[in-house]
């Protein structure tokens, strides 16, 4: 257990509304990631963070923004939700000693299920 908490765990919203998902970790890990999970696609990286105020895009970043103002919190925002963003969203952290030693092992939260009507 890497002390990762996601909120909300379930949310139903309407097209065009803003949505923010929160990932909170308790162990001061530097690297945090947001993935979305869709049937047949596995998990795909949306955005990631390598420190406070340091973020970058993943492979499916369109329509999403992130912020990290504190080490422990990584927020994912959908400025104007669309039905194609209906998905399960996972936050993850990696435990690293240095960037060059990262082999890719991640620890995941339990997911946030978002439905956009």
């Amino acid at each position: 257990d890497a002390g990762i908490t996601q909120s909300p765990r379930h949310k139903v919203t309407e097209t065009g509304t803003p949505v923010t998902l929160r990932c909170h970790q308790t162990e001061n890990h530097r690297y945090m990631y947001w993935y979305r999970q869709d049937p047949g696609h596995g998990l795909r990286l949306i955005h990631y963070s390598y420190g406070v105020k340091d973020t970058d895009k993943g492979e499916v970043s369109d329509g999403y923004s992130v912020s990290r103002s504190k080490t422990e919190d990584f927020l994912l925002t959908l400025e104007s939700a669309t039905s194609s963003q209906t998905s399960v969203y996972f936050c993850a952290i990696s435990v690293l000693l240095a960037v060059t030693t990262n082999t890719g092992e991640l620890f995941f939260g339990e997911g946030s299920r978002l439905t956009v009507l």
Binding site: Y31, Y33, G42, T103, G104, L106, G111
Partner: protein, 117 residues
């Protein structure tokens, strides 16, 4: 570029019989390879990983996988299935570097394992 193909979206076995979940990968770099398991409504948990040491890798709960470079495969096996093994399994390759954040993970589409009594 890197990619992962899980050859079966669903596998059904009887309790006590062997399990084989197939995975092929492609990568331009020397990859690290992983298998993750996801139980219903849960996050992903690491089963095992290959990082260029022994080609036969043992993981938790009796699972193992063999890295075969000539076949670009990393199949997951278990000699005897248990009811608690019913879950979704993801093969993952890690080779491309994310800017400032270690390696990028690319997930296969997942294989749902069903275990019949």
């Amino acid at each position: 570029a890197q990619s992962v193909t899980q050859l079966d979206s669903h596998v059904s076995v009887s309790e006590g019989t062997p399990v084989l979940l197939r995975c092929n990968y492609s990568s331009s770099y020397s990859p690290s390879l992983f298998w993750y398991v996801q139980h219903p409504n849960k996050g992903l948990q690491l089963l095992l990983k290959y990082t260029s040491a022994a080609t036969l890798v043992k993981g938790i709960n009796g699972f193992e996988a063999e890295f075969k470079k000539s076949e670009t495969s990393f199949h997951l096996t278990k000699p005897s299935a248990h009811m608690s093994d019913a879950a979704e399994y993801f093969c993952v390759v890690s080779a491309l570097a994310l800017r400032n954040a270690g390696n990028m993970l690319t997930f296969g589409g997942g294989t749902r394992l069903m275990v019949k009594p």
